[in-house]
Amino acid sequence: MNMEHYPILAIISLFLGAFLVALFGRLNKVLRNLIVAAAVTIPLCLMIALIAPVMIGGQVIGYWMGNWAPVGPWAIGIGLEVDALSLFFGLVVTIAVFVSGLYSFTYMNRDDSLENYYTLFLMLSGSLLGLVLTGDLFNIFVMIEIMTMTAVALTAFRVDYEGALEGALKYMVVGSIGSTSVLVGIAMLYSQLHTLNMAQIAAALPDHQNLVTVGAFAFLFLGFSTKAFLFPFHPLAADAHAVAPASISLMISGVITKCGVYGIIRLAYILYQNINEPAVSILITGFGAVSCFICVTMAFNQHDFKRLLAFHSISQVGYVITAVGLGTALGLSAGLYHAMNHTLFKGLLFLCAGAVQYATGSLDLGRLGGLAKKMPKTCALFLIGAASISGLPPFNGFFSKWMIYQASFEKGLDTGNFFYIVVCVVCLLSSVLTLASFVKVAQSVFFGQLQPQFENTKEVPLTMRIPMWILAVLCILTGVLPWEVLQKLVGPAAAAALNAAGYIQGMLGSGAAAGAGAQAAFSMEIGFWGPVSWLCLLLIVSCAVCLVAVLGTAEQKSPEERHEMDRRAGRTAAFTRDGFADAGRILKPAEKEGHYRNPVLSGTTLTFTGEKDPKYENFFSGEESEYSQVGGGDLFWGFKTNWRHYFQGMRRWHSGVINDYTRYGIVALAFVLLYACLFL
């Protein structure tokens, strides 16, 4: 089969899957799952197959629907168009869709009318893939609308879940500002250029700059930033992510926001090619930095696991937009890299949240705790995700964040604009606040003490953990091999975005574009970070430490051995009624009466005929240890008390009333319009 059919096949397989599931899904559960599995796997394979020609070969694959090839410079039909940038986002989308679909099989098995769920899910996936692969501006609008509609329906899928309807309604109503803006922007562009094909627009726009196209830029930018849930639309994201099923939260936060990012990149780099104008750069970077900071601080106030993650996803998208707005090669690559990383680690975290919800039925940070003992594997996965999002080396978040700092600082130095330095500091600060948030989650969900009501919690089934492991492994791989990823995936995508001429040629001209030339000029100075050699170093040092430890304890018995010996010699401090509590592993739920009564002194050791060994209890100032968890809400008191006015204001500001959110949106629209008219 010819390579150029791949994109359309990828999109069609998803939509066709949706159609088939709607037809046959009710009949047979296995058939339905098979259809879904096929529908999510095929696009992934097709996208991977396209890596070689597009990413490495630098080809731009154009496909004209219904074979309406362009006549001269005029594109008549609707085109699909896969350059490296589209493919990059296509890969992100298909990976997320694949993982989310796989996860849904088990995660959703307690819900009913699943054929509706899968139909909507596949439609959502199809629209997302269509959005990033299309070459037609109006197609983007249609796909955005399908995306919004299905995402809203899926958000409200669990209608009985607290707040699901409300979140969906807010998403729909306030999101419609964005949809309207996109359509108005498209209409304004069309009135000037009389075409909807992006390549053609890109070719014509630089010569047709006037007030209307500037207005169109403002409208389109705001529309896409609504879809990316940028400030001031972030409350929507928080509401929608928090109440949707976890597999859909992954899609909303991991992919829908990325489509907004994709839109902004296409808009500023390819269509208008005005990213190097300081005003545009400052506008985009400013929006990104503000979202980044406000959302990360908003996450401090949250007591719902997924709502917290939702605020973080906007914060991370803020990073991406900040980096994209810089306009340099380094900045753009940083943004793309972080966009990919964000999909991976935030997907992982949402799936962990879903696993917690599946196992315990709760997401309340104030009620959970101590799950690490019950769900150790999920805990490990969560720690990987949390380390990635907090940017701890060698996980992937570190590298992309580092590129963002470097890029923004260098941009500040190059342009002599202190604004970028402030942005850099804000980004660095947000990073440590992110870390703080995830320490809070770790402490209040996985560590700390287990509530008695979750005593019977079970680890989630393997079918749910496999998708999580896929994401976790990708997180580690992209973190450990950053230079390869940069060279093979991110670099070509960034080069493609910076090479508008190649895009136009690829679509309207000869086919194989001059991407290679741009790529040669594409070199970055980032600094030095070799995760592999660093890991080797770590290995050497830990070997040495282990060696010393082994030598040191050669004569010493391990605690277990000692306990075993003591047990045999009858010298132990602890016999429980049901058995021996060895090395702190087993602990029977305690009864209130009879603890530590009848102490018997034998030798130097005290024996109790009570029930649990106080030795392995937590130290509680001598009290019998009881349930006591330092909850997430109180965790950063020292920080919050200094910032209480800010936090109170923020709480008032996120009022939860639709009208207020609409007002913020309108103000943002007015601001962007005014800004564009004044400075562009």
Binding site: E555, P599, G622
Partner: protein
């Protein structure tokens, strides 16, 4: 390989955890004064910790009231081996003036093996320092024993021997108090 060093440093860095089992605060104040510049027990490596998990020497003051006995036992159990128990003042040894009260569950020997007992009401800081130093020596001994036996604590026979030889009393404080304490002990 490093066991010898470890044994030696047992003596050099004893960390103290202080349990107040209903004391009148007299001994507690004196214990704190041991760490002040005047007596500076830190020069011997003494260090007051906040948790029994890190303690080597548990200092118990007060006559072990009924309210505190559970907490005392629990806390003592939470101290990792090897450990030393030091009774501070006359109260934990004999109950002092509180002896015979319905609210007293002492003496301390009922609940744990006491390695060093510093008498007095209250003991002088010098006496406390000397007692703690003795406890540090016992600690090293215990560590050796522990290593030899591979157990948490020496067997009863060894413990008895150690008790016989090492258990010492330092009462250079208020003479009457010491006498009083001794009398009450005799009563017991």
């Amino acid at each position: 390989m490093f066991q010898k060093w470890i044994d030696k440093s047992m003596r050099k860095s004893p960390w103290i955890y202080h349990i107040n089992a209903g004391s009148c605060n007299g001994c507690d104040i004196e214990l704190v004064s041991v760490l002040t510049p005047r007596y500076d027990a830190e020069r011997f490596g003494f260090h007051l910790t906040g948790t029994p998990r890190q303690a080597d020497i548990v200092v118990v003051s007060g006559p072990i009231t009924m309210q505190s006995v559970d907490r005392l036992i629990r806390t003592l159990a939470q101290v990792p081996e090897p450990k030393c128990v030091v009774s501070l003042g006359s109260c934990p040894r004999s109950g002092n003036v509180f002896k015979g009260s319905f609210a007293i569950a002492g003496p301390l020997e009922k609940y744990t093996h006491v390695d060093v007992s510093v008498g007095g009401c209250t003991p002088k800081p010098e006496a406390i320092v000397a007692g703690l130093a003795k406890a540090a020596e016992i600690l090293e001994e215990k560590r050796r024993e522990m290593r030899k036996h591979g157990g948490m604590a020496p067997s009863p026979a060894v413990a008895a021997a150690v008790e016989h030889e090492e258990r010492a009393e330092f009462g250079t404080g208020d003479a009457t108090a010491v006498r009083q304490g001794a009398e009450q002990e005799a009563d017991a």
